[in-house]
């Protein structure tokens, strides 16, 4: 009989202890801006931010904790030395390098050119992150400023401008606090009550509520071991579907029909905010190369993303705005031939990246010698 009581007591005690432990978790400071990491300690940091949809094969995963993500990146490794000219590139998956090995990406190829200026070695860091949204780029840009860049290059494309693209990307949706701060600091006029943004409840700050992000952190560390052992951070399929070059007679762009883009629906505010974030540090905007198709209805559309009218208009708006605001802006939209695109209208092959890297290296040298 007494043993029965012991059993129930034990269960009760376990439950109470767990509850205390669970709620004590809410008191722990998680937003200290840094994250414990085996990267850059036991193993080399990653050459690009963690992202991956098939973790077991790519030894990489997508998570939402920006601090943990940066802590795994090689850029956080060493403080900048005297003779380093540090360039950070941000942007979407074309910068991150879908289907490309780290050394084949834009940043990888720029580093392989061994550029230097006035005895300073130019080192280029890849802080691109897949998914297309200027708000996401801003989150990365703001964080990147901690790492003392001498120059920032922001690769952009029209698809990242529409207002409806801003908050839905997971990295933004799961980082409401950071987005709020950015919005207040730089007057972004974001719809912070949007359903796209996930509002954390008190429950989400407990151990149980945080289990997903804790598990993500742990997996990031473990896959780091695999990254260290194999140098693999992406799945490279032998076959993939090439970017579409034949299209329906469709002129719509994000629901807008010709002739005019709605300027107020394009997030140029974000670009302005980017310049305010970088302040004294030079920031160069680059309109990234797109696939110019030569297939069915390519007189109407350039590619899967863009009807010609919309894209042409975007280019002229962008160059006008740049003149008006005195932005450093380069338009490389057509420098890569159609054959050098891979599985999307913005993803380049290694040779395509080489063409782009050459153009950008000249741009960097001019900026760095200024």
């Amino acid at each position: 009989m007494s043993q029965k009581i012991n059993l129930w007591r034990l269960l009760l005690k376990t439950f109470i202890l767990f509850a205390i432990f669970n709620f004590a978790f809410t008191l722990l400071p998680f937003d200290s801006g840094s994250s414990i990491s085996i990267y850059n300690n036991l193993i080399f940091g990653r050459e690009r931010l963690p992202f991956g949809e098939s973790p077991t094969q790519s030894y990489n995963l997508s998570l939402f904790d920006l601090d943990a993500m940066f802590a795994s990146h090689i850029v956080t490794d060493t403080p900048k030395s005297e003779n380093e000219y540090r360039v950070i590139v941000i942007g979407d998956s074309s910068v991150w390098g879908t289907l490309l090995r780290p050394e084949e990406t834009l940043s990888g190829q720029l580093n392989r050119l061994n550029l230097s200026v006035r005895d300073k070695k130019i080192s280029v860091y890849n802080l691109g992150y897949p998914t297309i949204s200027l708000t996401k780029d801003l989150l990365v840009l703001e964080k990147a400023m901690q790492y003392e860049p001498d120059l920032l290059i922001w690769m952009l494309t029209l698809e990242s401008f529409p207002a409806d693209k801003q908050l839905t990307t997971p990295l933004v949706a799961h980082n409401i606090e950071r987005v709020q701060k950015l919005d207040t600091a730089y007057d972004l006029h974001l719809d912070l009550n949007s359903d796209a943004l996930l509002q954390p409840s008190f429950w989400d700050t407990t151990l149980i509520g945080r289990r997903r992000s804790l598990a993500d952190w742990a997996r990031l560390q473990l896959y780091g071991v695999m990254w260290g052992i194999t140098g693999v951070d992406q799945l490279y399929p032998e076959n993939y579907e090439s970017a579409k070059t034949d299209f329906e007679k469709d002129e719509l762009f994000h629901g807008w029909s010709p002739p005019e883009l709605f300027l107020d629906q394009l997030a140029f505010d974000m670009v302005k905010a980017g310049f305010r974030i970088t302040g004294e540090v030079p920031l160069i905007l680059v309109n990234e190369p797109i696939l110019i198709s030569d297939g069915k209805n390519s007189d109407i559309r350039y590619n899967y993303f863009y009807p010609r009218w919309a894209y042409d208009q975007y280019r002229s708006i962008f160059s006008e705005m740049s003149l008006e605001n005195d932005w450093a802006y380069h338009d490389y939209w057509d420098i890569v031939p159609a054959g050098e695109f891979t599985n999307s209208a913005i993803h380049l092959s290694s040779a395509g990246e080489a063409i782009l890297a050459k153009a950008i290296s000249e741009m960097i040298l001019i900026e760095a010698t200024r």
């Binding site: 997996r219 071991v225 695999m226 260290g228 052992i229 194999t230």
Partner: protein
């Protein structure tokens, strides 16, 4: 088993443990075990087979019982009751095809009732014929049963034969035979089931099998906590716990609960984390340096241990809820100072099975024939036994190599310790020296075992060799 399945099993086992203490212990355990082995069987691409395989598991068990039981036991009333219960449960499962909850207790929709009844009728007739014998089954008949079980085992574990079997079933049931694959037939629990059945057949032959009623026998073989992951208990040990409760219910819940929690932690936290960095056929080709290769290998060595021993803890914990103590399968194997001690503490119930039913008879025969020198006899029996243990995991060269690796290791260690025994017998070693020697032994044994896993985990021996070269900086 997934964590959800284990949680459900625990929720079933806790009240069941209480209920079976009061009422109908054997029959309740039997009914629940039958339901659960159908439920645990994964869905298969071969139509209806995921219903027929658990049915076969039960049918083979009943036939083996009728084959091995003594004439007096065969006609006990309680065995007849158990037979009727078993038939009713399977019949009920088959009828879910026509009720509105198919796919709930069975992995897919059960076959048409006629087919199920036909198969059951075969088993009933077979059992009836065996049970009708006036005396115990003849040795020939027992060997025939043994052979059937072994042949089934070989078919399932040999990829080429499994492919033929899959093709055959597809043709039989009217599916596209060109889609057949060697991994089509996943017969949950057969490896363990067959070894439990063979154990009773061999014990009947040596006259050591205790009298066991059908319900007890079936519960022993398909007991749900250990059905798919072992351990392989011995029937006389199992029925002791079945017939007589040894501890209070609350004690069982406490002890079993602790064991379950430890097992869950080992399997789902440690092993599943290690799995992310453990050696596998893909990562073996990707590792860029010897250091990295060793990390992969050690991670695998610990992953397989925590995975398997975690599952064993879960099985032991669940069984304890039901008042049954299953035998231990692991006793800190990586902390043993030589390979013999390692094999005394790794997958213990399997090695004991092989020792009792293969190694000992084999060595006894060799000893009596006196044809081989002592050294040769040890070499041959170690190599053959360990190869067979390798083949138990699958009929593939990689498993044979793994077995041979351990066979050679055991032989060398046996010779070495024989040599050392005579040399070091007089020497008085200080405790400190002994301690150091023991630590060296542990390190050597662990690394030997870890290197052995290379053959185990990489299905292609030449890939295994490449990886060994990489480990030692030669690739």
């Amino acid at each position: 088993m997934t964590i959800t399945q284990i949680a459900i099993l625990a929720f079933v086992a806790i009240p069941l443990g209480w209920l079976t203490r009061k009422w109908q212990r054997v029959n309740l355990l039997l009914i629940i075990s039958i339901l659960i082995i159908f439920w645990l069987q994964p869905a298969l691409p071969l139509r209806y087979l995921d219903f027929f395989l658990p049915t076969l598991s039960i049918g083979l068990t009943v036939l083996t019982w009728a084959l091995t039981a003594s004439p007096e036991v065969r006609h006990q009333k309680e065995s007849k009751t158990s037979a009727v219960i078993t038939l009713c449960v399977i019949f009920f499962l088959a009828t879910t095809r026509y009720l509105n909850f198919d796919n709930f207790l069975t992995p897919t929709r059960p076959p048409p009732i006629g087919q199920v009844l036909f198969l059951l009728a075969i088993f009933v007739v077979g059992t009836f014929l065996l049970a009708r014998q006036k005396s115990s089954s003849s040795n020939t008949l027992l060997w025939a049963g043994f052979t059937v079980l072994v042949i089934l085992f070989i078919i399932l574990k040999t990829p080429a034969l499994a492919l033929i079997a899959s093709r055959g079933w597809r043709l039989f049931i009217g599916q596209n035979a060109s889609l057949a694959s060697s991994s089509d037939i996943y017969w949950l629990g057969y490896s363990y089931l067959a070894f439990r059945l063979i154990h009773t057949i061999r014990d009947r032959q040596s006259g050591r099998l205790p009298d066991v009623a059908l319900g007890e026998y079936l519960t022993y073989v398909i007991f749900f906590p250990s059905f798919s992951v072992g351990p392989i208990d011995r029937v006389e040990r199992f029925i002791k716990g079945l017939r007589q409760l040894e501890s209070a219910y609350s004690d069982d819940i406490l002890v079993g609960g602790q064991r379950l929690v430890v097992g869950l932690f080992k399997k789902f936290v440690i092993a599943d984390s290690l799995a992310m960095i453990a050696l596998n056929p893909l990562s073996a080709t990707q590792a860029q340096s010897p250091l990295g290769a060793w990390v992969l290998l050690y991670a695998y060595a610990f992953q397989i241990f925590f995975d398997f021993s975690g599952y064993t803890d879960i099985a032991i914990g669940l069984a304890q809820f039901l008042g049954i103590s299953l035998p231990e399968n692991f006793k800190q194997p990586y902390r043993k100072s030589n390979l013999t001690l390692f094999w005394n503490s790794w997958h213990i119930t399997l090695t004991q099975w092989f020792r009792a039913y293969f190694f000992n008879p084999f060595v006894r025969a060799l000893r009596k024939s006196r044809k081989l020198s002592a050294g040769m006899m040890i070499l041959v029996s170690q190599l053959v036994t360990m190869s067979l243990i390798g083949l138990w995991h699958g009929v593939m060269w990689s498993f044979v190599l793994w077995g041979l690796w351990h066979g050679i290791g055991l032989f060398v260690q046996n010779r070495w310790s024989g040599w050392a025994k005579t040399r070091l017998a007089g020497a008085s070693l200080s405790t400190r020296t002994r301690r150091i020697l023991s630590l060296l032994g542990i390190a050597l044994t662990f690394n030997y075992v870890a290197l052995g896993w290379v053959w185990f985990v990489l299905p292609n021996p030449s890939q295994g060799w490449q990886f060994i070269l990489l480990l030692f900086g030669g690739a």
